[in-house]
Symmetry: C2
Amino acid sequence: MLTTSDHLHLRRAPLFAQMPGASVDRLVSAAHAQNLAARSLLFDQGEAAAFLYVILSGRVGLVGRGMRDHEMVVEFFGPGDVFIIPAVTLELPLLMAARVLDDARIVLIPAAHVRDMIARDHAFASAVVRELSRHWRLLVTQIKDLKLRRAPQRLAAHLLSLPRSRSGELHLLEERQLIAQRLGMTPESLSRAFADLKRLGVTARGKHIVIADPAGLERFAAIDGAP
Amino acid sequence: MLTTSDHLHLRRAPLFAQMPGASVDRLVSAAHAQNLAARSLLFDQGEAAAFLYVILSGRVGLVGRGMRDHEMVVEFFGPGDVFIIPAVTLELPLLMAARVLDDARIVLIPAAHVRDMIARDHAFASAVVRELSRHWRLLVTQIKDLKLRRAPQRLAAHLLSLPRSRSGELHLLEERQLIAQRLGMTPESLSRAFADLKRLGVTARGKHIVIADPAGLERFAAIDGAP
């Protein structure tokens, strides 16, 4: 069962924010929540999708695995994010594994119940269209990032996407090795990219970053004027 | 207005194949079809989405543009493919331009009508969930391809995805420069990748390709056993 606090957190997820309360209640009637420690494997690449997952707190990495167990992060997810709708709706094998990066509380909704809800509840189906559309644009943005930006520009765009203080301070949310994977580069390329960004006023010490000139960094990272 | 032949082609598109006839009729009641020559620009990056597009024949490239008008193909689309649902549903600026690659006949459905149909027609909303889910998996597969495969493996996977005869012959559907963009490499890297694949039994003359040993090429291209 979900606690009152779980329900409050769920309602903040974009997928549920615009859904009628009765639809959310029906959807989560079959759900349960789990506390999962960092390094837990929620599911593995190639498995069938047993659940739809909603992150209440903590962080999860969706990871693609290649030959000789070579892994790369496809995307990071945090509180309010929902995954993986396509494998649930199409009943196809999962294309990625999901690993907990920071201790997390996660709601699990059985996949068959989700498919049943899409078929029976028009408001939920419409909310899923919007959620998938937002995800789709994240993935297209990442493909443009990988194809159109050099490594230092990709790092600059990533740093600019993180919340920062008025004095330009921010904290990386993941280990550098995982950030390198998400940005499609080797750890060595990430180190070189940080070195390159020094001349643009970016100082880095571990996970602590300061951006001295955000406007200059945005010009450097720009794709067609849009960071 | 759409011709009888247009309707028949439309019904073969995966988005419409499982929809009730009445829903398809309502959706296309506001549509028109256009014959567009190669090199036509359907829409530009940054514009508002005015229409949902369905390709009846021909090919279209979705193109991301970077600084100094540097362009890269994000994805190719052909007969039966529908784009771009996310910009239509979310009313957000288009992330890519769409350029006709081969003379095409395309159905245009006004974006406001599509949004109205998602809100009013549950069967259509469910069909859009499945269509977006399929697209989402294409994009994730591409991101895994870009992050986990080296250039010759990406080319091998691309060649294996094209229809080929029992004798292993196939024809590239696009110009090599565009294929290089889709695969996230320079034209020079594509030439080197073709040279690399010679030792695996791939011979290439212009757009005409022969794969002598498909099983060997599949092993070479494999990500975790799945090409």
